[in-house]
Amino acid sequence: MSGVYRVELEVYSGPLDLLLQLVTREEVSIYDIPIARITDQYLTHLRALPELDVETAADFVVLAATLLALKARMLLPAPPPAGGEEPEGGVEEDPRAELVRRLVVYRQYREVAAWLAERLACANATYGPGAPSPLGPRAPAIEPGCLSADLTALALAYQAVLATLAAPPAEHEIPPLPFTVGEKMSAILERLERRGCLPFEELFAPGASRSEVVITFLALLELVRLGRVRARQEQPLGRLELIRNDPGERRAPEGER
């Protein structure tokens, strides 16, 4: 149970998490962060971080840039106020204010997250038919940063089909391939045209050779990439179905922001 929520010093849930931990460790006020010192530490930790995916790494770098810009601004004397009436340190907002606001808000949610983790640990200590089944083993735990669920599901289904094939002989000759990816693509589209939708398993003719299965799968991937075909399933690990993707109802790209 204790493993449900751990703050691992080497793995941060995000750049703000790292920054907050540095501030806490240094025992400085969040409202008066020694920017120069914390920035140096932040950069040191950033270098020591294990491999990150590109997007997460970029987020860490963005905050590093923010910190460096702040550090530079803190080193420079404040520009003289335009009106010349206000004595120094007057209405001019602390350059750190924006960062502090973000940290304060972020810290609130992090504390609630810790509360949720404790609740989850409690709920996990009970068993029964009505107990937290939605977290059950139905959905595979796909680690963040892996393939999208659809692709994973495709790959799993593909492996299931491959597993039904006989192991390749230890020694074999390479005959010319009887199919091309393009032919298989047309064949898939044609079948979908007629049937509307197609269970994944039926894509492969019974008794198909390994090379035919591979080429058919490649054709499917290509069709998915081109947006001509969509794979869907009712629930995680459920049956995969292929449907035609009419240009009209093509899904909005995943990357929308």
Binding site: V4, Y5, D32, G130, P134, L135
Partner: protein, 201 residues
């Protein structure tokens, strides 16, 4: 029907229900009004708690469920057949917290608070049935809005969202600059539900 008979029936219903038993559903089956049914369920819960039973009745997400007592977790786990869910990563928990308090919320809003891409965390939570798409925000790009599900309440042993503690009051800066302080609090979340293992009611 004698209360004792109704109690027996409710006990059986809660035991057999694959999901938290809705009071309305129970009332229909037992043939009593919902208020009486709710009272009886509470009484049943009290009875279990009073004799320190190995099972507890608890109210979550608008329904009642019967589960093993939390202190017996280790013993039950030794059966080895009870599937347990994997833990949620700190990133997923943070994301879940933001969705729970700010729903309906868009991915961009979650990312603005966390300062990091949150697509995979949202996807994990969605796959686990803890959050779902609840609509689209009007405006540029019509981004998806996320909210928590009843399964979220059930998984965390909560009766309703009102049981979430209020967002912690930010410690104010020594002087002046109140900045964003306090703006994030939801006044409607009433009493602070301390994290504790409910022994039933």
């Amino acid at each position: 029907m004698k209360p004792q008979e109704a109690l027996r029936m409710l006990e059986a219903l809660v035991f057999a229900a694959p999901e938290p038993l809705r009071i309305k559903e129970a009332a229909e089956i037992v043939g009593l009004d919902t208020a009486t049914t709710a009272n009886l369920l509470r009484r049943l819960c009290d009875e279990y708690a009073a004799r320190g039973a190995g099972l507890v009745l608890e109210e979550v997400a608008g329904g009642w469920r019967m589960v093993t007592a939390p202190d017996l977790a280790e013993a039950v786990a030794r059966l080895g057949r009870s599937p347990r869910q994997g833990p949620l990563s700190p990133a997923a928990l943070e994301t879940l917290a933001i969705v729970a308090y700010r729903q309906p919320v868009t991915r961009a809003e979650v990312e603005a608070i966390r300062g990091v891409h949150s697509e995979s965390a949202l996807r994990t939570l969605e796959e686990r049935g803890l959050i779902r798409e609840v609509g689209r925000r009007e405006g540029l790009g019509r981004p998806l809005e996320y909210g928590t599900t009843d399964a979220f309440l059930a998984a965390f042993g909560l009766r309703s969202l009102a049981e979430l503690p209020p967002l912690p009051e930010p410690v104010l800066p020594p002087e002046g600059d109140r900045g964003a302080a306090g703006r994030e609090n939801r006044p409607e979340t009433a009493e602070r539900g301390a994290p504790r293992c409910r022994g039933g009611c």
